[in-house]
Symmetry: C3
Subunit: 210 residues, 3 copies
Amino acid sequence: MLFQIIFVIALAAESMTAALAAGRRNMDWFGVCVLGCVTALGGGTTRDVLLGHYPLIWVEQPAYLLVTTAAALFTIVVARVMEWLKLTFLLLDAVGLVVFTISGCMVAMEMGQPALIVIVAGMITGCVGGVLRDVLCNDVPLLFAGELYATVSAITACLYFFGIQAGFPAELVTIVAMAIGFGLRALAIAFKIEMPRFVYAPVRDQSSKR
Amino acid sequence: MLFQIIFVIALAAESMTAALAAGRRNMDWFGVCVLGCVTALGGGTTRDVLLGHYPLIWVEQPAYLLVTTAAALFTIVVARVMEWLKLTFLLLDAVGLVVFTISGCMVAMEMGQPALIVIVAGMITGCVGGVLRDVLCNDVPLLFAGELYATVSAITACLYFFGIQAGFPAELVTIVAMAIGFGLRALAIAFKIEMPRFVYAPVRDQSSKR
Amino acid sequence: MLFQIIFVIALAAESMTAALAAGRRNMDWFGVCVLGCVTALGGGTTRDVLLGHYPLIWVEQPAYLLVTTAAALFTIVVARVMEWLKLTFLLLDAVGLVVFTISGCMVAMEMGQPALIVIVAGMITGCVGGVLRDVLCNDVPLLFAGELYATVSAITACLYFFGIQAGFPAELVTIVAMAIGFGLRALAIAFKIEMPRFVYAPVRDQSSKR
């Protein structure tokens, strides 16, 4: 199925982007592989652990681990070339976001979860990998920094869930949800659309420890 | 049951305190919601994942997610007002600590866990949410910084477990454990009682990499 | 069984090394215990959660928690003496690495996992505790910083898995894998053998946000 192929390409792309982040921090080759695998597979893993959905995808099909490891190692070789493909990788990251989100919704729906959990499962699958990458790189997660990223995931998940619930054919719903999600993300990148931020500076600063 | 009502109020309060922490770091609205939900529900989630106790509470009853999300968003509106209620929120946080601790003990006891695991389950439920908040905010967890917080959780868990084991009625034990735990935490806040710290500075500093 | 005794000694040693790290950050006594327990037991816990292998070892045998907590607290008393035993603890850490790795392989093989998952399970068991310690201490994981540590774990896991698969007696395979793994790690410490690093500095720095 086409969805499966796009899924694997997105896994590799996420792993490569994370490998670059590892390179920027001068990690060793092992760290590069770990960061690639955790970023690419961490969202689905977190979803499965939270839903109690065993075995995990990469435990059942270890080939996924090989794909993400190989992609991370390959990045060490082609890092210089990737700079010229910055936009390509930004768009592949957007593809990954919508594909992972939909795959997360699928898992939750197969388990018979209610609407809210399906959407949350989709968002976890789409977004948590990047959060784990940032925590391991000792950064505040980029996900919380205003970019229209999680919102795209939420919209994609809603489109998919309610489309399926409304009885439309699964292939059509998948394609439409992916197209709209991808389009939104591309617009957000192109026009630098941002979420509003909550800026809170305590007036009496000295008394606020927590 | 009254315990359930206090539980939900404490969830909302924890989420609101975390939302303020997000605002201090200028996170976007989505980040505010995630930090609120993770802080409020992260302790119970960690306990359930470690004990293999599925489904998670917020997967079974997604209404909890709505409460914590709404509380976090509400914080954006009322942040200025909350400054005048600092003490109220510090006390609500103390209520959350003892209520979450006891709820964690209940779950572990229902599973028939031994004493030590019941107490650890209570402490995980009471304390881990704040640790996750600090990790996501890229801070060293406040929990390890001397405040009498985890100790209060441990004492509350012991009181509850041994009270129930001794055959006292559950309602009485719950009320007494909550009252003593809350009182201890209030005293710790009022008199700034702190845990002793382990201050270790290597003599031959240059040779200590790890 | 001898393996079991070495396992418990290694648990205590890992907890003590982590307690020193806590002392360097002036954590309180509770933080010292938590960091000790998480570092010593975190690798096995992560493996079991990812493989869905319940109950966790320390939930089934809470005595492990007592060992790691006691070791962490004991460190507060003997920290000054431990400086003279730096090499001993570095070697005990190497013992822990190979023992934990092999114990992780054993669990995965009992579950009938394929080769790659057995090796990954061994590496997770051997290495993740230190990663959790570094995340809680708000550091970039030392594991990704070039030291020949995870590689030793991978080699030990391969030796064990393929040795057992080849039909050699389990005791022999365990001893040989431990000896070679420990020897490699000792050589890496003695000669400061390092993994190559992936150093990536974007040419057009201003355009690289991610």
